[in-house]
Symmetry: C2
Subunit: 222 residues, 2 copies
């Protein structure tokens, strides 16, 4: 497999950073090719705007999503956006690794979704969900939380706005998520165990079964 | 009332921009004081990180949320974060005005939540939901969508991750939301009607009843 890890934690010495390092190590040892988008280290700009494009379409009215469609046709995405798209096209599996902030993505990663999963590139013209433009690829989320596990009794449900509303919307098949809960409050033994659990989780990613989300037809979308 | 409008659209000529202008006009005409945080115009940086603080706490291990708590105690938030906090403290009502991107906040506004609704300032030490630190203030969301109204049959449910998971988490009482659907696809007459509908919506904000979300006690959180 070709695996892209999109990693969104500021501190390389964090537990989240250790999880990312573990994932790289395990996947590489299994013989997979791995690339990492380290968004903080890259200084990734999460703000979607005119700077996403090397030139504008010339439309009388500037509309961001319309410019995304135009840029996809003319190959005029800015370098930082295009580089992430290229990695996404390359990848068979995309592993999103982030701390859960406000039950959702940290802004730096939300902006990766806003800018890279562009209209016309990841979805559009009726192509979404099982017919999304990234169909055939797989994705998984691995998170750390500030709160204890009891706050998140059903992690796939907590992450559904991301896993279903964003990732599956683009056609990605989404694997079950992994959560490491409150590592900052845990003792060393617990942290070591959580990291071992994550190692075992990553080891089975290549053969994991995706969650069964409904197709467009099943959702009555034709 | 003192009203803070947090506005997150790149294009002042957009329908979202027209909604913001309408809200300012109506609220001012009603005698309320209005401030606008125009995040794109301000060049607001949505990435939470060390730059949020004028100095670090000196803790051996750097952890963002712990630094937020420390900065609240020592008054060492960076100017851009502190300025938004000051407006929030000033406000009786906060109106969030944004285009819905991936069923959630555009990154520039998600980062406003990440950085401004800081641990220790907006919540913390068991103070959340009805006991959140912003209790006594009210908030409302007004959005534009790319998709038609049929995509969002229950807007309060679509926005629940934001309205409940973020705003109410800090103690804000959340008013019913307003959605203008697919204005980019609508004809002028429809857009004019949607803007009139929004005008009427803003006119009743001062007397609107908040949504009834459960208290901590009702959620079994003691």
């Amino acid at each position: 497999m070709k695996v892209l890890i999109v990693y969104a934690h500021e501190n390389p010495a964090s537990f989240n950073g250790a999880m990312k390092d573990t994932a790289v190590e395990v996947l590489t040892a299994q013989g997979h090719e791995v690339q990492v988008s380290d968004l903080y280290a890259q200084g990734f700009n999460p703000v979607g705007g005119k700077h996403d494009f090397t030139e504008l379409s010339g439309a009388e009215f500037y509309k961001y999503q319309a410019e995304q469609v135009a840029a996809g046709r003319s190959g005029t995405f800015a370098t930082d956006v295009q580089a992430e798209m290229d990695k996404l096209v390359w990848a068979d599996l995309v592993l999103f690794q982030f701390p859960l902030w406000w039950f959702h993505l940290p802004a730096i990663l939300k902006g990766w979704m806003d800018r890279v999963l562009a209209s016309g590139f990841a979805y559009g013209n009726g192509q979404m969900f099982d017919r999304g433009k990234l169909a055939g690829k797989r994705a998984a989320c691995a998170i750390t939380t500030g709160g204890p596990a009891a706050f998140y009794p059903d992690l796939a449900e907590t992450l559904k706005p991301i896993m279903f509303g964003i990732l599956y919307f683009t056609g990605l098949q989404v694997l079950p998520p992994f959560g490491a809960h409150a590592p900052a409050q845990a003792d060393d033994a617990t942290r070591t165990q959580m990291l071992a659990d994550y190692r075992a989780h990553v080891e089975q990613l290549a053969s994991a079964e995706p969650l069964q989300y409904p197709t467009m037809a099943e959702m009555g979308m034709g």
